[in-house]
């Protein structure tokens, strides 16, 4: 196994551990963050803040690197297009997030700890991705 899948596995594992430690695998906690009119729980803002601080430093390093440690080049999103797909898709995602209290990362990580509800959400999510792929030719 070359270094790249191993680094990806390490990244995914740390990501899953971070989600579990941070409380983001608790749908009711996420829901309480989104419930600004109720007993608001700001924990998610701390999670986002912690992640953004580390990643802002990483982007600073990235700008000084000619290439990644284990790959030939950086493969980063280059599009700057702001369109109805971006806004409409994000708005739809927010509806799903608000309904279930789960986004894709915590849902997949929850397969290990709460398999039944997580699998139902993930099955719906995979179906949604397939449906979009079938009907979307853009």
């Amino acid at each position: 196994m070359s270094a790249r899948p191993l680094l990806a596995l390490l990244s995914g594992t740390l990501f899953g551990a971070g989600l579990a430690l941070s409380g983001m695998m608790d749908p009711s906690r996420v829901r309480e963050f989104l419930d600004v009119g109720g007993a608001w729980d700001p924990t998610l803002a701390f999670v986002m803040g912690g992640a953004l601080i580390v990643m802002a430093l990483a982007w600073g390093l990235q700008r000084r690197m000619l290439k990644p440690v284990a790959a030939e080049r950086f493969e980063l999103p280059g599009t700057r297009l702001i369109d109805a797909r971006l806004i409409g898709g994000s708005a739809l995602f927010g509806i799903g997030w608000g309904l279930g209290g789960l986004c894709p990362g915590p849902a997949l990580a929850s397969l290990a700890l709460n398999p039944l509800p997580a699998a139902v959400f993930v099955a719906g999510m995979v179906l949604g991705m397939i449906v979009l792929r079938l009907f979307d030719r853009a």
Binding site: L6, A58, L99
Partner: protein
């Protein structure tokens, strides 16, 4: 400061949130600086399911496999991970369906747009994150209004 904060927000876990968030950022930094790629969960899941191109399959699938592995390891090392799910499986299935369509249409979710894109000050990601936060808050408010909160 801390006692005041905990009185205002009795359910909040700011320290665990900050440290857990730092771990998430470290994970995304390893993907960026090691493999040269964005740690966006919805995009890498789509790639793992062969629904989109870009990232080599072994990289995408390894990252996705790590998510439940990391959660399991943390629960073994530090004890149970609290989680209260919505009681309705049908609701979860519908929420998942909408999340799947929305994240692929909008090219990202909380990780790709929220963590990786916002820290890069990408205008697309800033707008996407503001949109799904606002839409999530509106959804919870409407569900509460309908008396269907859980």
């Amino acid at each position: 400061m801390i006692p005041v904060f905990s009185e205002i927000f009795p359910h909040a876990a700011p320290l665990r949130g900050l440290v857990g968030g730092g771990l998430i950022g470290l994970a995304a930094a390893i993907m960026l600086l090691g493999n040269g790629r964005i740690a966006g969960v919805s995009g890498l899941l789509g790639r793992t399911l062969a629904l989109g191109g870009g990232t080599p399959w072994s990289i995408a699938a390894s990252f996705i496999a790590g998510l439940p592995l990391g959660a399991l390891l943390l629960s073994v090392l530090l004890g149970p991970v609290p989680a209260h799910f919505p009681p309705s499986l049908a609701l979860l299935g519908v929420a998942g369906l909408i999340t799947g369509i929305g994240t692929r249409l909008g090219s990202g979710c909380t990780s790709g747009h929220g963590v990786c894109g916002m820290s890069r000050l990408s205008p697309r990601s800033l707008l996407a994150t503001a949109t799904f936060m606002a839409s999530g808050m509106a959804t919870v408010a409407l569900v509460n209004l309908a008396g269907a909160g859980w």
